[in-house]
């Protein structure tokens, strides 16, 4: 009892010091979160008709401003906020990619030319599905512009996630990123019950995983007496003996983060959420959340827990193997393109983990390259899924893709390129990505993991190519969907995704240089 009183008194007697904040280092995050606040005010103050244009201008201007400030920070390697945040090369690369993906994702979300009744989001999320209210709102052509503040806050959280340098900041970032996404998931315009079910599942399971993370953070604090990553690293490497508590803490923290990247066995939410969420959001989420969460995972395991690689590597080996195999095997049986891509994203997370396990600079570089390549391909894939439609909206059932190559050879060819990239065929970005993580893994003596990855790649190739077979080798039927002509928004996003996918496959050196020059995490 006395000890506690002592501790409390000690805390009370420590003078509170105002943390010095380097605003330049925090500029990208502050711009986006500030824009989020302004965006809320827009919703409250602007007349209905003015909201969408104002929000779009705000979103794109703030994202571009954030991108510019990230580029301006290039080369920085310093701590901020009394060590709670760290700005370094890998962190900046991830932030930059997230912002670019957010720009492309916002373009998909702003698309209004595909669905005759509006965009991909419900006219009023509060109206009960199938109710008279819903019909009224749709008939009056209402739009839910509240998606934009949610979107901005989610992006803000994502930018914070990979640069968080202590456990508390990481948790805050995790929640800031996740909460708006839970809401957005439930806002699909069509098949609303599916969407709301997905949102609830995502929220419940996400809250569960956050609890895991928090519990792990508490245990790790209990073990090391600090929440800052460098402090944890020092404590981990200096202590010996009793590591039971530490291992439990690492497992719980890992579970929380692995949930976010959709790694097995924490992947069950992925197919439902990918399928139920509005497609542009799925595309944005699939690409950006993966980068942000992998960024956090990499920083936690490389910086804070780098000294105990031999303890966590076996755990990640098992997770990587499970993730690759479960993702690619279950994807074989999917008949809905969004669910198939969801399982594919699980398998891809497994391949990235192969690079993460290496715990070397090459592993970090490989994982970064893979993430960037994957993100652009994914945005492109969902842009096309948005465009392939029949009278009931997006035609996500695979049977409706039969013969698409005859109907719309150009779009089908681009989609085939995306599939080949995910399958890791040379001359696409996916191949270079696989190559870099496999190289890192073999150099770190994880040859057996690469053998498993190779087998999983083959299984995965089967379902990717099955889509190609459907589109090109099968006759079109009456069921075959049409490709709607999108507005400039989706066109730009699709073009960006396709260009990067091919360019990184043929000439990856500039990006590799950027990643290598970015160096490693600040410890």
């Amino acid at each position: 009892m006395n000890a506690v009183v002592e501790a409390v008194r000690a805390v009370e007697e420590t003078p509170w010091v105002m943390p010095t904040l380097d605003y330049k280092l925090l500029a990208p995050i502050l711009i986006i979160l500030g824009a989020g606040v302004v965006s809320v005010l827009f919703e409250a103050l602007l007349p209905r008709a003015a909201r969408r244009p104002a929000q779009l201008v705000l979103v794109f201007v703030s994202l571009v401003a954030a991108l510019v400030s990230i580029i301006a920070l290039q080369g920085s390697r310093s701590l901020s906020g009394r060590g709670a945040l760290v700005v370094d090369g890998p962190g900046l690369i991830m932030q930059g990619t997230i912002v670019i993906i957010a720009i492309l994702g916002a373009m998909l979300m702003a698309e209004r030319g595909l669905d005759p009744s509006g965009d991909a989001f419900a006219a009023r999320a509060s109206a009960l599905p199938g109710s008279e209210d819903e019909r009224q709102f749709t008939a009056r052509g209402y739009f839910q512009t509240e998606i934009w503040p949610f979107f901005l806050f989610a992006v803000g959280g994502m930018l914070l996630f990979p640069v968080a340098n202590d456990l508390l900041m990481m948790f805050v970032a995790l929640e800031v990123m996740s909460l708006p996404l839970y809401l957005l998931t439930g806002m699909a315009r069509r098949r609303r019950l599916l969407s709301q079910e997905a949102a609830l599942k995502y929220f419940v399971l996400g809250a569960f995983s956050s609890a895991f993370f928090l519990y792990g953070a508490a245990l790790l604090y209990g073990y090391t007496g600090t929440i800052s990553f460098p402090g944890i690293a020092a404590a981990v490497s200096s202590t010996t003996g009793q590591t039971g508590l530490l291992l439990v803490a690492v497992a719980l923290l890992g579970a929380g983060l692995l949930f976010k990247i959709g790694a097995a066995p924490f992947h069950q939410w992925t197919p439902d959420v990918y399928q139920g969420a509005p497609t542009p959001l799925t595309g944005f989420m699939a690409a950006a959340v993966k980068i942000a969460a992998f960024g956090a995972l990499l920083r936690l395991f490389y910086v804070a827990l780098g000294g105990m690689r031999w303890d966590w590597a076996p755990m990640l080996w098992v997770v990587a193997i499970l993730t690759m195999l479960i993702g690619s095997v279950i994807a074989l049986t999917q008949s809905d393109i969004k669910r198939m891509i969801a399982y594919s994203s699980i398998a891809q997370a497994g391949f990235i983990l192969v690079g993460v396990v290496a715990a070397t600079p090459a592993g970090l570089a490989g994982a970064l390259f893979y993430l960037i390549a994957y993100a652009f391909t994914t945005i492109g894939i969902f842009a096309i899924i948005m465009m392939v439609r029949d009278e009931n909206g997006e035609a996500t059932h695979l049977s409706k893709w039969a013969g698409l190559g005859r109907r719309s050879p150009f779009v089908a060819t681009i989609f085939a390129v995306f599939m080949l990239s995910l399958a890791g065929i040379p001359l696409t970005s996916g191949f270079i990505g696989k190559f870099s993580v496999f190289t890192a893994a073999i150099a770190a003596d994880d040859t057996w993991l690469v053998i498993v990855a190779v087998i999983a790649s083959l299984i995965a190739a089967f379902f990717y190519l099955r889509v190609v077979v459907l589109m090109f080798f099968t006759e079109a039927t009456d069921e075959t969907a049409e490709v709607a002509v999108p507005s400039v928004f989706t066109t730009v996003a699709l073009a960006a995704g396709a260009t990067v996918t091919v360019l990184l496959g043929i000439y990856p050196q500039p990006l590799l240089d950027l990643i290598i020059n970015a160096g490693v995490f600040v410890r």
Binding site: R406, F435, L465
Partner: protein, 521 residues
């Protein structure tokens, strides 16, 4: 030594042609064919120009060398160059492509229930494939080779899957997955090689010249060799990795089958000579007995199955498998004659496969597309010219003396006898079965009473004869005078032999005179 980037230009021309053909409007199928043919003939001309400049007597094994950085982060270079082996195979590819285009002029109809692809698409794919074939034989960087090796699958996948016959979708998928399986293991081995080279030299590399000089420890060699060999054995294909081939050949158009078996599968045996042997000499020696056993089993297995086949395209696929056994045998007996023979055999097999598949294709086209042997008999009465070419193709396949296939087969067997007399004797028996099934096919389909529905079939047209004549001329010319090929192949094989440190066994009295005569030295 040569500043003009011949090989890059050679590879780029068909790619340009492919893009042009693909961009043509769908309503101009004839123009697409004409442009494709024109481009393939330009490429052939360029190849001849390169071949004429190739100096067979210089000590420099690789010529037309190009070297540029590509992905320095991974030690990857864009480096090209040809030795005699590469040159011969590029020549084979560039000869076969125009022949295929000409022979397959009317193979692809406008889209109908049977096929789902457009005419221009087929010819664009052939040209794209030609670029990749040139690249794969010209690459002197393992990574670059791998990129071509894997990228090559995609056009073939579409050629089978979009333009093939029944079961095309299944056959295309099987082909692609089998090849990817091999390719992915090769990828793992290739990365392993990169890492090992980094450990040995301090800087990882994929450059062939640097990799050949490495002294990799035998245990590592054995592991990496398996990855590479597995990919090549599937590609070639050797027994027991062959099951994709009959399906693919059976479902493909005759032209596709010619490119697939005649040229693409040679990448497997080419890879063994170019990569497996020089980079992993100790492992090659270690595994040679197993591979020779696989090759001999393949010779007999392929021949026996061919003997019992009723489907012509599948029959030729199995017969090719038997021939690939001979090629692999010649490579892994480690004698100069054997390896030179294998290269000649690759060339000869490409030509004879083209002749077989194309004449059979012409025949099938005239008879409702049936590929069943039992549907044909007595064709030589209504169509004597077709039957004549078919006989030639058959004789070329069984290696009649005077044809280039005889030179290849004879040298391979001679090389085998030098090293393993009993294996040589056994393999020679394979020729007998080859003769049996080839002649059986000819006898059943071409001779005897004219089968029902066959009495009215038309003989070969001018275009079809034009496509076949170059094959006949080349086969006979090189069969009687193989020196032009051997002069460029022998120095390349000598280099391979010296890199792997193998020496020919001391000649025994009886074979001395034949040896010097057979190799034209």
């Amino acid at each position: 030594m040569n500043s003009f980037p011949w090989l890059t230009v050679l590879g780029a021309v068909p790619l340009v042609g492919s893009v042009i053909v693909a961009l043509l409007p769908k309503s101009r199928p004839l123009l697409a064919k004409q442009i494709a043919l024109a481009f393939s003939i330009i490429v052939l001309g360029l190849t001849i120009a390169i071949a004429l400049q190739f100096n067979g007597s210089t000590s420099e094994p690789f010529q037309f060398v190009e070297y540029h950085q590509w992905i320095p982060a991974f030690g990857v270079t864009y480096s090209l160059g040809v030795d005699g082996i590469g040159l011969v195979l590029i020549a084979l590819a560039t000869v076969i492509v125009p022949i295929t285009i000409l022979a397959g002029w009317n193979d692809v109809e406008e889209p109908n229930a049977e096929s789902v692809g457009s005419v221009k698409g087929y010819f664009a794919l052939i040209l794209a494939l030609e670029t990749l074939m040139i690249g794969v034989f010209a690459a002197t960087d393992v990574f670059l080779f791998y990129v071509f090796f894997e990228a090559m699958l995609i056009p073939v996948y579409f050629m089978i899957g979009r333009y093939g016959g029944a079961q095309r979708s299944y056959a295309a998928m099987k082909f692609l997955l089998y090849s990817l399986l091999g390719g992915l293991f090769m990828l793992a081995a290739m990365i392993g090689l990169f890492v090992v080279s980094g450990q040995l030299t301090g800087r990882g590399t994929f450059n062939w010249f640097e990799l050949v000089g490495l002294d990799i420890d035998p245990t590592t060699q054995k592991l990496l060799f398996v990855g590479f060999f597995f990919a090549f054995a599937i590609k070639a294909p050797l027994w027991p990795f062959h099951t994709w081939l009959p399906d693919a050949a059976g479902a493909a158009k005759p032209g596709t089958a010619v490119l697939l078996i005649g040229v693409l599968d040679k990448v497997g045996t080419f890879g063994m000579i170019r990569y497996c042997l020089p980079i992993f000499p100790a492992a090659s020696e270690y595994y040679a007995p197993i591979i020779i056993a696989m090759a001999v089993i393949g010779i007999f297995y392929g021949a026996f199955v061919a003997l019992g086949q009723n489907d012509l395209k599948r029959l030729f696929a199995y017969s090719s498998m038997s021939h690939f056994g001979f090629i692999a045998l010649g490579i892994f007996v480690f004698t100069t004659i054997g390896q030179s023979g294998s290269v000649v055999y690759m060339l000869a097999h490409g030509l004879s496969t083209a002749a077989l598949f194309l004449t059979a294709g012409f025949l099938m086209q005239r008879h409702r597309g049936s590929s069943l042997l039992s549907d044909y008999s007595g064709v030589n009465k209504p169509a004597p010219v077709l039957a004549g070419f078919f006989l030639f193709a058959a004789l070329s396949s069984l290696a009649l003396p005077g044809l280039v296939s005889f030179v290849g087969e004879f040298m391979v067997l001679l090389g085998t006898f030098q090293r393993y007399i009993w294996i040589g004797a056994l393999a020679t028996l394979g020729i007998v079965i080859t003769a049996a099934y080839v002649l059986r096919v000819y006898q059943k389909s071409m001779t005897g009473p004219v089968g029902s529905g066959l009495d009215a079939i038309k003989d070969l047209r001018g275009r079809e004869i034009t496509a076949l004549v170059p094959i006949v001329v080349l086969s006979i010319f090189l069969g009687l005078y193989p020196a032009p090929v051997l002069n460029v192949v022998n120095p390349a094989v000598d280099t391979v032999m010296s890199v792997i440190g193998a020496t020919d066994p001391a000649p025994t009295v009886g074979s001395t005179s034949i040896t010097s005569e057979g190799t034209q030295q």
